[in-house]
Subunit: 274 residues, 2 copies
Amino acid sequence: MIWFTEYQTKNTGLTVKVRESKSFQSEYQEILLLDTYEYGKMLVLDGAVQTCERDEFIYHEMLAHPALLFHSSPERVLVIGGGDGGTVREVLKHSSVKEVNLCEIDRMVIEVSKEYLPSISSKLSDERVKIFVEDGNRFLDERKGYYDVILLDLSDPVGPAEALFKRNFYQKVEQALREGGIMAAQTESPFLQEEYFRTAVKEIRAVFKNSKTYLAFIPTYPAGMWSFTIASDSVDFSDIKDTNISRLNTKYLSDTILSSLFVLPKFVSDMIEE
Amino acid sequence: MIWFTEYQTKNTGLTVKVRESKSFQSEYQEILLLDTYEYGKMLVLDGAVQTCERDEFIYHEMLAHPALLFHSSPERVLVIGGGDGGTVREVLKHSSVKEVNLCEIDRMVIEVSKEYLPSISSKLSDERVKIFVEDGNRFLDERKGYYDVILLDLSDPVGPAEALFKRNFYQKVEQALREGGIMAAQTESPFLQEEYFRTAVKEIRAVFKNSKTYLAFIPTYPAGMWSFTIASDSVDFSDIKDTNISRLNTKYLSDTILSSLFVLPKFVSDMIEE
Protein backbone atom coordinates (compact mmCIF):
# COMPACT_ATOMS: atom_id res chain seq x y z
CA MET A 1 0.00 0.00 0.00
CA ILE A 2 1.34 3.39 -0.98
CA TRP A 3 0.45 6.48 1.03
CA PHE A 4 1.34 10.05 0.19
CA THR A 5 1.37 12.80 2.80
CA GLU A 6 1.46 16.46 1.94
CA TYR A 7 2.99 18.25 4.89
CA GLN A 8 0.83 21.37 4.75
CA THR A 9 2.89 22.79 7.59
CA LYS A 10 5.83 21.24 9.44
CA ASN A 11 3.34 19.74 11.87
CA THR A 12 0.28 18.59 9.96
CA GLY A 13 -0.64 17.05 6.65
CA LEU A 14 -3.12 15.43 4.33
CA THR A 15 -2.58 11.70 3.84
CA VAL A 16 -3.98 9.87 0.82
CA LYS A 17 -3.84 6.29 -0.38
CA VAL A 18 -2.29 6.00 -3.82
CA ARG A 19 -3.04 3.45 -6.52
CA GLU A 20 -0.29 4.54 -8.90
CA SER A 21 2.14 7.41 -9.15
CA LYS A 22 4.30 9.04 -11.78
CA SER A 23 6.95 11.65 -11.17
CA PHE A 24 8.55 14.17 -13.48
CA GLN A 25 11.29 16.68 -12.92
CA SER A 26 10.79 19.93 -14.80
CA GLU A 27 13.10 22.88 -15.04
CA TYR A 28 11.24 24.47 -12.09
CA GLN A 29 9.83 21.79 -9.82
CA GLU A 30 9.05 18.15 -9.11
CA ILE A 31 5.73 17.17 -10.65
CA LEU A 32 3.88 14.20 -9.16
CA LEU A 33 0.81 12.71 -10.74
CA LEU A 34 -0.95 10.50 -8.20
CA ASP A 35 -3.91 8.23 -8.84
CA THR A 36 -5.56 8.36 -5.41
CA TYR A 37 -8.43 6.23 -4.12
CA GLU A 38 -10.30 9.07 -2.41
CA TYR A 39 -9.74 12.07 -4.65
CA GLY A 40 -9.08 10.66 -8.11
CA LYS A 41 -6.07 11.88 -10.07
CA MET A 42 -4.05 14.46 -8.20
CA LEU A 43 -1.39 16.92 -9.39
CA VAL A 44 1.33 17.69 -6.83
CA LEU A 45 4.06 20.30 -7.33
CA ASP A 46 7.10 20.21 -5.04
CA GLY A 47 5.07 18.18 -2.57
CA ALA A 48 2.01 20.47 -2.50
CA VAL A 49 -1.36 19.32 -3.85
CA GLN A 50 -2.42 21.66 -6.66
CA THR A 51 -5.57 20.08 -7.97
CA CYS A 52 -7.40 16.77 -8.00
CA GLU A 53 -10.35 15.43 -9.92
CA ARG A 54 -12.76 15.18 -7.01
CA ASP A 55 -12.68 18.70 -5.59
CA GLU A 56 -11.09 20.81 -8.35
CA PHE A 57 -14.49 22.18 -9.32
CA ILE A 58 -14.63 24.19 -6.11
CA TYR A 59 -11.30 25.96 -6.54
CA HIS A 60 -11.74 26.64 -10.24
CA GLU A 61 -15.33 27.87 -10.00
CA MET A 62 -14.54 30.11 -7.06
CA LEU A 63 -11.41 31.61 -8.56
CA ALA A 64 -12.93 32.30 -11.98
CA HIS A 65 -16.61 33.18 -11.70
CA PRO A 66 -16.87 35.93 -9.10
CA ALA A 67 -14.46 38.20 -11.00
CA LEU A 68 -16.18 37.48 -14.31
CA LEU A 69 -19.66 38.03 -12.84
CA PHE A 70 -18.76 41.35 -11.22
CA HIS A 71 -17.51 42.59 -14.58
CA SER A 72 -20.21 43.98 -16.86
CA SER A 73 -18.96 42.24 -19.99
CA PRO A 74 -15.58 40.51 -19.79
CA GLU A 75 -14.00 39.91 -23.19
CA ARG A 76 -10.26 39.57 -22.59
CA VAL A 77 -9.11 37.34 -19.76
CA LEU A 78 -5.63 36.43 -18.54
CA VAL A 79 -4.87 33.48 -16.29
CA ILE A 80 -1.41 33.48 -14.71
CA GLY A 81 -0.31 30.05 -13.50
CA GLY A 82 -3.10 27.51 -13.81
CA GLY A 83 -1.30 25.23 -16.27
CA ASP A 84 -3.76 22.44 -15.43
CA GLY A 85 -6.41 24.32 -17.41
CA GLY A 86 -9.25 24.18 -14.85
CA THR A 87 -9.57 27.93 -14.52
CA VAL A 88 -9.53 28.40 -18.30
CA ARG A 89 -12.33 25.83 -18.57
CA GLU A 90 -14.52 27.87 -16.20
CA VAL A 91 -13.65 31.18 -17.91
CA LEU A 92 -14.81 29.83 -21.26
CA LYS A 93 -18.31 29.24 -19.86
CA HIS A 94 -18.86 33.01 -20.12
CA SER A 95 -20.14 33.74 -23.59
CA SER A 96 -18.86 37.34 -23.60
CA VAL A 97 -15.28 36.09 -23.42
CA LYS A 98 -13.49 36.37 -26.76
CA GLU A 99 -9.88 35.80 -25.78
CA VAL A 100 -8.18 33.88 -22.95
CA ASN A 101 -4.46 34.06 -22.45
CA LEU A 102 -2.79 31.54 -20.19
CA CYS A 103 0.65 32.43 -18.89
CA GLU A 104 2.26 29.41 -17.23
CA ILE A 105 5.98 29.27 -16.53
CA ASP A 106 6.29 25.49 -16.58
CA ARG A 107 5.52 23.79 -19.89
CA MET A 108 5.66 20.38 -18.25
CA VAL A 109 2.70 21.21 -15.97
CA ILE A 110 0.62 21.85 -19.08
CA GLU A 111 1.84 18.69 -20.79
CA VAL A 112 1.27 16.43 -17.77
CA SER A 113 -2.21 17.94 -17.27
CA LYS A 114 -3.11 17.46 -20.93
CA GLU A 115 -2.07 13.84 -20.80
CA TYR A 116 -3.35 12.75 -17.39
CA LEU A 117 -6.07 15.22 -16.35
CA PRO A 118 -8.28 15.62 -19.44
CA SER A 119 -11.43 16.56 -17.51
CA ILE A 120 -9.54 19.55 -16.14
CA SER A 121 -7.31 20.49 -19.09
CA SER A 122 -9.44 19.75 -22.14
CA LYS A 123 -10.46 23.35 -22.85
CA LEU A 124 -6.83 24.42 -23.26
CA SER A 125 -7.26 23.50 -26.92
CA ASP A 126 -10.26 25.84 -27.36
CA GLU A 127 -9.65 28.28 -30.20
CA ARG A 128 -10.17 31.31 -27.92
CA VAL A 129 -7.21 30.19 -25.77
CA LYS A 130 -3.62 31.23 -26.36
CA ILE A 131 -0.90 29.71 -24.18
CA PHE A 132 2.29 31.56 -23.27
CA VAL A 133 5.02 29.56 -21.56
CA GLU A 134 6.55 32.52 -19.78
CA ASP A 135 7.31 34.07 -16.42
CA GLY A 136 4.15 35.95 -15.35
CA ASN A 137 6.23 38.80 -14.04
CA ARG A 138 7.95 39.42 -17.35
CA PHE A 139 4.81 38.72 -19.37
CA LEU A 140 2.96 41.59 -17.67
CA ASP A 141 5.73 44.07 -18.49
CA GLU A 142 4.53 43.98 -22.07
CA ARG A 143 0.79 44.23 -21.32
CA LYS A 144 -0.70 47.54 -20.29
CA GLY A 145 -4.39 48.32 -20.11
CA TYR A 146 -5.40 45.25 -22.04
CA TYR A 147 -7.38 42.77 -19.93
CA ASP A 148 -10.87 42.87 -18.43
CA VAL A 149 -10.16 40.14 -15.92
CA ILE A 150 -6.86 38.73 -14.62
CA LEU A 151 -6.90 35.56 -12.52
CA LEU A 152 -3.86 34.64 -10.42
CA ASP A 153 -3.98 30.87 -10.27
CA LEU A 154 -0.66 30.47 -8.50
CA SER A 155 1.02 27.83 -6.40
CA ASP A 156 2.16 28.71 -2.87
CA PRO A 157 4.45 31.73 -2.40
CA VAL A 158 7.52 29.53 -2.17
CA GLY A 159 9.26 28.20 -5.28
CA PRO A 160 8.39 29.49 -8.76
CA ALA A 161 5.43 31.64 -7.64
CA GLU A 162 7.22 33.50 -4.85
CA ALA A 163 7.69 36.79 -6.74
CA LEU A 164 4.03 36.79 -7.79
CA PHE A 165 2.75 37.48 -4.27
CA LYS A 166 4.58 40.80 -3.98
CA ARG A 167 3.33 44.37 -4.24
CA ASN A 168 5.37 45.05 -7.34
CA PHE A 169 3.63 42.19 -9.11
CA TYR A 170 0.14 43.28 -8.05
CA GLN A 171 0.98 46.72 -9.47
CA LYS A 172 1.79 45.15 -12.83
CA VAL A 173 -1.52 43.28 -12.68
CA GLU A 174 -3.31 46.56 -12.00
CA GLN A 175 -1.59 48.21 -14.96
CA ALA A 176 -2.45 45.33 -17.27
CA LEU A 177 -6.18 45.83 -16.66
CA ARG A 178 -8.22 48.18 -18.81
CA GLU A 179 -11.01 50.43 -17.52
CA GLY A 180 -13.50 48.44 -15.45
CA GLY A 181 -11.00 45.62 -14.98
CA ILE A 182 -11.02 43.15 -12.11
CA MET A 183 -8.42 40.75 -10.77
CA ALA A 184 -8.88 37.73 -8.52
CA ALA A 185 -6.19 35.73 -6.78
CA GLN A 186 -5.99 32.67 -4.61
CA THR A 187 -4.64 33.99 -1.31
CA GLU A 188 -3.87 30.83 0.71
CA SER A 189 -5.42 29.46 3.89
CA PRO A 190 -6.20 31.94 6.68
CA PHE A 191 -6.04 29.08 9.15
CA LEU A 192 -2.84 27.18 8.38
CA GLN A 193 -1.00 29.83 6.36
CA GLU A 194 -1.96 32.90 8.25
CA GLU A 195 1.14 34.91 7.38
CA TYR A 196 0.90 34.20 3.65
CA PHE A 197 -2.77 35.09 3.79
CA ARG A 198 -2.30 38.33 5.71
CA THR A 199 0.56 39.43 3.46
CA ALA A 200 -1.22 38.69 0.19
CA VAL A 201 -4.38 40.50 1.30
CA LYS A 202 -2.43 43.46 2.65
CA GLU A 203 -0.39 43.87 -0.54
CA ILE A 204 -3.46 43.63 -2.77
CA ARG A 205 -5.27 46.20 -0.61
CA ALA A 206 -2.28 48.52 -0.84
CA VAL A 207 -2.42 48.48 -4.64
CA PHE A 208 -6.10 48.42 -5.59
CA LYS A 209 -8.77 50.92 -4.59
CA ASN A 210 -11.31 48.20 -3.80
CA SER A 211 -10.78 44.65 -2.65
CA LYS A 212 -12.77 41.89 -0.97
CA THR A 213 -11.79 38.50 0.37
CA TYR A 214 -13.93 35.39 0.27
CA LEU A 215 -13.56 31.74 1.29
CA ALA A 216 -14.45 28.33 -0.05
CA PHE A 217 -14.32 24.81 1.35
CA ILE A 218 -11.54 22.96 -0.48
CA PRO A 219 -11.02 19.57 1.18
CA THR A 220 -7.58 18.84 -0.27
CA TYR A 221 -6.09 22.26 0.54
CA PRO A 222 -4.61 23.18 3.94
CA ALA A 223 -7.30 23.28 6.66
CA GLY A 224 -9.96 22.80 3.98
CA MET A 225 -10.44 26.56 4.27
CA TRP A 226 -9.21 28.49 1.29
CA SER A 227 -9.23 32.22 0.51
CA PHE A 228 -9.53 34.29 -2.62
CA THR A 229 -9.18 38.03 -2.97
CA ILE A 230 -10.87 40.04 -5.69
CA ALA A 231 -9.76 43.59 -6.47
CA SER A 232 -10.43 46.50 -8.80
CA ASP A 233 -9.87 50.22 -9.13
CA SER A 234 -13.33 50.85 -10.60
CA VAL A 235 -15.68 48.09 -9.47
CA ASP A 236 -16.55 48.20 -5.77
CA PHE A 237 -18.16 44.74 -5.47
CA SER A 238 -21.26 46.11 -3.77
CA ASP A 239 -23.53 45.01 -6.55
CA ILE A 240 -23.41 42.09 -8.90
CA LYS A 241 -24.68 42.67 -12.43
CA ASP A 242 -25.48 39.16 -13.41
CA THR A 243 -26.91 36.74 -10.91
CA ASN A 244 -28.48 34.27 -13.29
CA ILE A 245 -25.68 31.81 -12.94
CA SER A 246 -27.45 28.53 -13.57
CA ARG A 247 -26.24 28.74 -17.19
CA LEU A 248 -22.67 28.29 -15.88
CA ASN A 249 -23.45 24.74 -14.80
CA THR A 250 -21.57 25.07 -11.53
CA LYS A 251 -21.51 22.54 -8.72
CA TYR A 252 -20.39 24.80 -5.86
CA LEU A 253 -21.31 28.36 -6.77
CA SER A 254 -24.99 29.30 -6.63
CA ASP A 255 -26.93 32.56 -6.58
CA THR A 256 -27.08 32.41 -2.79
CA ILE A 257 -23.38 31.60 -2.40
CA LEU A 258 -22.70 34.59 -4.61
CA SER A 259 -24.97 36.94 -2.69
CA SER A 260 -23.25 36.11 0.61
CA LEU A 261 -19.79 35.74 -0.92
CA PHE A 262 -18.02 38.21 1.34
CA VAL A 263 -19.37 36.92 4.64
CA LEU A 264 -16.37 35.74 6.66
CA PRO A 265 -15.94 34.01 9.99
CA LYS A 266 -15.18 36.62 12.62
CA PHE A 267 -11.55 35.59 13.15
CA VAL A 268 -10.88 35.91 9.42
CA SER A 269 -12.44 39.35 9.07
CA ASP A 270 -10.51 40.41 12.17
CA MET A 271 -7.26 39.39 10.42
CA ILE A 272 -8.14 41.56 7.44
CA GLU A 273 -9.17 44.58 9.50
CA GLU A 274 -6.07 44.55 11.71
CA MET B 1 9.19 12.00 15.98
CA ILE B 2 5.69 10.73 16.62
CA TRP B 3 2.98 11.20 14.03
CA PHE B 4 -0.69 10.34 14.42
CA THR B 5 -2.98 9.82 11.44
CA GLU B 6 -6.73 9.77 11.71
CA TYR B 7 -8.01 7.74 8.79
CA GLN B 8 -11.12 9.80 8.08
CA THR B 9 -12.05 7.27 5.41
CA LYS B 10 -10.21 4.12 4.34
CA ASN B 11 -8.35 6.23 1.82
CA THR B 12 -7.51 9.59 3.35
CA GLY B 13 -6.55 11.05 6.68
CA LEU B 14 -5.33 13.93 8.80
CA THR B 15 -1.73 13.59 9.95
CA VAL B 16 -0.42 15.48 12.97
CA LYS B 17 2.93 15.65 14.73
CA VAL B 18 2.65 14.69 18.38
CA ARG B 19 4.73 15.92 21.30
CA GLU B 20 3.25 13.57 23.89
CA SER B 21 0.39 11.14 24.08
CA LYS B 22 -1.64 9.39 26.71
CA SER B 23 -4.11 6.60 26.13
CA PHE B 24 -6.97 5.32 28.25
CA GLN B 25 -9.37 2.46 27.75
CA SER B 26 -12.87 3.16 28.98
CA GLU B 27 -15.83 0.81 29.09
CA TYR B 28 -16.90 2.15 25.68
CA GLN B 29 -13.90 3.25 23.68
CA GLU B 30 -10.19 4.02 23.44
CA ILE B 31 -9.48 7.57 24.55
CA LEU B 32 -6.31 9.24 23.26
CA LEU B 33 -5.10 12.55 24.54
CA LEU B 34 -2.50 13.96 22.15
CA ASP B 35 -0.38 17.02 22.63
CA THR B 36 0.05 18.11 19.01
CA TYR B 37 2.36 20.79 17.63
CA GLU B 38 -0.14 22.29 15.21
CA TYR B 39 -3.49 22.03 16.99
CA GLY B 40 -2.67 21.95 20.70
CA LYS B 41 -4.18 19.25 22.90
CA MET B 42 -6.43 16.91 20.99
CA LEU B 43 -9.03 14.39 22.21
CA VAL B 44 -9.36 11.28 20.04
CA LEU B 45 -12.03 8.58 20.55
CA ASP B 46 -11.56 5.21 18.83
CA GLY B 47 -9.15 6.89 16.41
CA ALA B 48 -11.41 9.83 15.48
CA VAL B 49 -10.50 13.41 16.42
CA GLN B 50 -13.27 14.84 18.61
CA THR B 51 -11.93 18.20 19.62
CA CYS B 52 -8.67 20.11 19.88
CA GLU B 53 -7.66 23.36 21.48
CA ARG B 54 -6.95 25.27 18.30
CA ASP B 55 -10.18 24.88 16.37
CA GLU B 56 -12.72 23.68 18.96
CA PHE B 57 -14.23 27.16 19.13
CA ILE B 58 -15.69 26.72 15.66
CA TYR B 59 -17.49 23.45 16.34
CA HIS B 60 -18.77 24.47 19.76
CA GLU B 61 -19.95 27.93 18.74
CA MET B 62 -21.69 26.63 15.65
CA LEU B 63 -23.41 23.74 17.38
CA ALA B 64 -24.65 25.77 20.36
CA HIS B 65 -25.46 29.33 19.34
CA PRO B 66 -27.77 29.09 16.32
CA ALA B 67 -30.33 26.95 18.21
CA LEU B 68 -30.14 29.21 21.25
CA LEU B 69 -30.44 32.38 19.17
CA PHE B 70 -33.45 31.14 17.18
CA HIS B 71 -35.22 30.43 20.47
CA SER B 72 -36.97 33.41 22.02
CA SER B 73 -35.76 32.72 25.56
CA PRO B 74 -34.02 29.41 26.20
CA GLU B 75 -33.99 28.42 29.87
CA ARG B 76 -33.55 24.64 29.96
CA VAL B 77 -30.89 23.11 27.74
CA LEU B 78 -29.80 19.52 27.27
CA VAL B 79 -26.50 18.48 25.68
CA ILE B 80 -26.24 14.81 24.70
CA GLY B 81 -22.66 13.62 24.26
CA GLY B 82 -20.22 16.50 24.52
CA GLY B 83 -18.37 15.19 27.56
CA ASP B 84 -15.48 17.53 26.80
CA GLY B 85 -17.65 20.44 27.98
CA GLY B 86 -17.11 22.82 25.06
CA THR B 87 -20.76 22.98 24.08
CA VAL B 88 -21.82 23.55 27.69
CA ARG B 89 -19.33 26.43 27.91
CA GLU B 90 -20.97 28.14 24.92
CA VAL B 91 -24.52 27.46 26.17
CA LEU B 92 -23.73 29.19 29.47
CA LYS B 93 -22.92 32.43 27.64
CA HIS B 94 -26.68 32.91 27.19
CA SER B 95 -28.00 34.72 30.25
CA SER B 96 -31.53 33.35 29.87
CA VAL B 97 -30.25 29.82 30.48
CA LYS B 98 -31.07 28.59 34.00
CA GLU B 99 -30.35 24.88 33.73
CA VAL B 100 -28.00 22.83 31.57
CA ASN B 101 -28.09 19.05 31.65
CA LEU B 102 -25.22 17.11 30.12
CA CYS B 103 -25.91 13.48 29.30
CA GLU B 104 -22.64 11.70 28.42
CA ILE B 105 -22.39 7.93 28.37
CA ASP B 106 -18.65 7.73 29.09
CA ARG B 107 -17.53 9.07 32.46
CA MET B 108 -13.90 8.76 31.44
CA VAL B 109 -14.34 11.29 28.59
CA ILE B 110 -15.48 13.84 31.16
CA GLU B 111 -12.63 13.01 33.53
CA VAL B 112 -9.92 13.13 30.87
CA SER B 113 -11.32 16.45 29.56
CA LYS B 114 -11.45 17.96 33.05
CA GLU B 115 -7.85 17.00 33.69
CA TYR B 116 -6.22 17.75 30.33
CA LEU B 117 -8.50 20.18 28.48
CA PRO B 118 -9.40 22.85 31.06
CA SER B 119 -10.01 25.61 28.51
CA ILE B 120 -12.75 23.45 27.00
CA SER B 121 -14.15 21.71 30.09
CA SER B 122 -13.92 24.30 32.85
CA LYS B 123 -17.59 25.33 32.79
CA LEU B 124 -18.71 21.79 33.60
CA SER B 125 -18.41 22.84 37.24
CA ASP B 126 -20.79 25.81 36.82
CA GLU B 127 -23.67 25.59 39.27
CA ARG B 128 -26.27 25.65 36.49
CA VAL B 129 -24.83 22.41 35.04
CA LYS B 130 -25.94 18.93 36.05
CA ILE B 131 -24.08 15.95 34.62
CA PHE B 132 -25.76 12.60 33.96
CA VAL B 133 -23.50 9.69 33.07
CA GLU B 134 -26.11 7.79 31.12
CA ASP B 135 -27.09 6.47 27.72
CA GLY B 136 -28.78 9.34 25.87
CA ASN B 137 -31.38 7.01 24.46
CA ARG B 138 -32.55 5.83 27.87
CA PHE B 139 -32.18 9.28 29.43
CA LEU B 140 -34.73 10.74 27.02
CA ASP B 141 -37.32 8.09 27.85
CA GLU B 142 -37.83 9.85 31.15
CA ARG B 143 -37.94 13.40 29.77
CA LYS B 144 -41.03 14.61 27.98
CA GLY B 145 -41.80 18.21 27.10
CA TYR B 146 -39.07 19.60 29.30
CA TYR B 147 -36.27 21.29 27.32
CA ASP B 148 -36.14 24.48 25.26
CA VAL B 149 -33.01 23.44 23.38
CA ILE B 150 -31.42 20.02 22.88
CA LEU B 151 -27.94 19.81 21.35
CA LEU B 152 -26.70 16.50 19.94
CA ASP B 153 -22.95 16.70 20.39
CA LEU B 154 -22.24 13.15 19.27
CA SER B 155 -19.30 11.23 17.92
CA ASP B 156 -19.60 9.50 14.54
CA PRO B 157 -22.50 7.10 13.96
CA VAL B 158 -20.29 4.09 14.60
CA GLY B 159 -19.48 2.89 18.13
CA PRO B 160 -21.31 4.29 21.18
CA ALA B 161 -23.27 6.97 19.26
CA GLU B 162 -24.65 4.70 16.53
CA ALA B 163 -28.20 4.46 17.92
CA LEU B 164 -28.38 8.23 18.34
CA PHE B 165 -28.49 8.91 14.59
CA LYS B 166 -31.72 6.96 14.07
CA ARG B 167 -35.29 8.14 13.54
CA ASN B 168 -36.46 6.61 16.80
CA PHE B 169 -33.92 8.69 18.69
CA TYR B 170 -34.83 11.93 16.92
CA GLN B 171 -38.46 11.23 17.87
CA LYS B 172 -37.45 11.02 21.53
CA VAL B 173 -35.59 14.31 21.14
CA GLU B 174 -38.72 15.88 19.66
CA GLN B 175 -40.83 14.62 22.55
CA ALA B 176 -38.36 15.92 25.12
CA LEU B 177 -38.74 19.48 23.84
CA ARG B 178 -41.42 21.78 25.22
CA GLU B 179 -43.44 24.27 23.15
CA GLY B 180 -41.14 26.45 21.05
CA GLY B 181 -38.28 23.97 21.45
CA ILE B 182 -35.37 23.60 19.04
CA MET B 183 -32.79 20.90 18.56
CA ALA B 184 -29.43 21.08 16.77
CA ALA B 185 -27.18 18.18 15.85
CA GLN B 186 -23.81 17.72 14.26
CA THR B 187 -24.56 15.82 11.05
CA GLU B 188 -21.11 14.83 9.71
CA SER B 189 -19.24 15.88 6.57
CA PRO B 190 -21.24 16.14 3.34
CA PHE B 191 -18.01 15.66 1.42
CA LEU B 192 -16.25 12.68 3.01
CA GLN B 193 -19.19 11.10 4.85
CA GLU B 194 -21.92 11.66 2.35
CA GLU B 195 -24.04 8.68 3.38
CA TYR B 196 -23.95 9.55 7.09
CA PHE B 197 -24.82 13.13 6.21
CA ARG B 198 -27.71 12.25 3.91
CA THR B 199 -29.15 9.77 6.39
CA ALA B 200 -28.95 12.08 9.39
CA VAL B 201 -30.56 14.96 7.50
CA LYS B 202 -33.26 12.72 6.04
CA GLU B 203 -34.19 11.23 9.41
CA ILE B 204 -34.32 14.63 11.11
CA ARG B 205 -36.51 15.98 8.29
CA ALA B 206 -38.83 13.00 8.65
CA VAL B 207 -39.40 13.77 12.33
CA PHE B 208 -39.50 17.55 12.66
CA LYS B 209 -41.81 19.95 10.85
CA ASN B 210 -38.99 22.41 10.10
CA SER B 211 -35.31 21.80 9.63
CA LYS B 212 -32.31 23.55 8.12
CA THR B 213 -28.74 22.47 7.52
CA TYR B 214 -25.68 24.69 7.76
CA LEU B 215 -21.92 24.27 7.41
CA ALA B 216 -18.78 25.45 9.12
CA PHE B 217 -15.08 25.19 8.35
CA ILE B 218 -13.55 22.81 10.90
CA PRO B 219 -9.94 22.13 9.89
CA THR B 220 -9.44 18.97 12.00
CA TYR B 221 -12.68 17.27 10.91
CA PRO B 222 -13.04 15.25 7.68
CA ALA B 223 -12.71 17.45 4.58
CA GLY B 224 -12.66 20.52 6.83
CA MET B 225 -16.34 20.85 5.85
CA TRP B 226 -18.73 20.06 8.65
CA SER B 227 -22.52 20.10 8.81
CA PHE B 228 -25.07 20.84 11.49
CA THR B 229 -28.83 20.45 11.27
CA ILE B 230 -31.26 22.50 13.32
CA ALA B 231 -34.89 21.44 13.69
CA SER B 232 -38.13 22.39 15.37
CA ASP B 233 -41.87 21.80 15.19
CA SER B 234 -42.73 25.42 15.96
CA VAL B 235 -39.82 27.63 14.92
CA ASP B 236 -39.33 27.88 11.15
CA PHE B 237 -35.86 29.54 11.14
CA SER B 238 -36.95 32.26 8.75
CA ASP B 239 -36.31 35.00 11.26
CA ILE B 240 -33.81 35.35 14.05
CA LYS B 241 -34.97 37.14 17.17
CA ASP B 242 -31.66 38.18 18.58
CA THR B 243 -28.86 39.26 16.32
CA ASN B 244 -26.83 41.25 18.78
CA ILE B 245 -24.34 38.50 19.27
CA SER B 246 -21.21 40.46 20.13
CA ARG B 247 -22.00 39.83 23.82
CA LEU B 248 -21.34 36.11 23.19
CA ASN B 249 -17.68 36.80 22.59
CA THR B 250 -17.45 34.42 19.66
CA LYS B 251 -14.49 33.98 17.33
CA TYR B 252 -16.26 32.35 14.38
CA LEU B 253 -19.92 33.30 14.53
CA SER B 254 -20.83 36.88 13.65
CA ASP B 255 -24.04 38.71 12.75
CA THR B 256 -23.28 38.24 9.06
CA ILE B 257 -22.41 34.55 9.43
CA LEU B 258 -25.73 34.15 11.21
CA SER B 259 -27.73 36.01 8.59
CA SER B 260 -26.36 33.80 5.79
CA LEU B 261 -26.23 30.65 7.91
CA PHE B 262 -28.31 28.47 5.60
CA VAL B 263 -26.49 29.31 2.38
CA LEU B 264 -24.99 26.07 1.08
CA PRO B 265 -22.74 25.15 -1.83
CA LYS B 266 -24.90 23.91 -4.66
CA PHE B 267 -23.80 20.26 -4.42
CA VAL B 268 -24.71 20.20 -0.73
CA SER B 269 -28.17 21.70 -1.21
CA ASP B 270 -28.69 19.26 -4.08
CA MET B 271 -27.97 16.36 -1.68
CA ILE B 272 -30.61 17.65 0.73
CA GLU B 273 -33.26 18.26 -1.93
CA GLU B 274 -32.86 14.86 -3.57
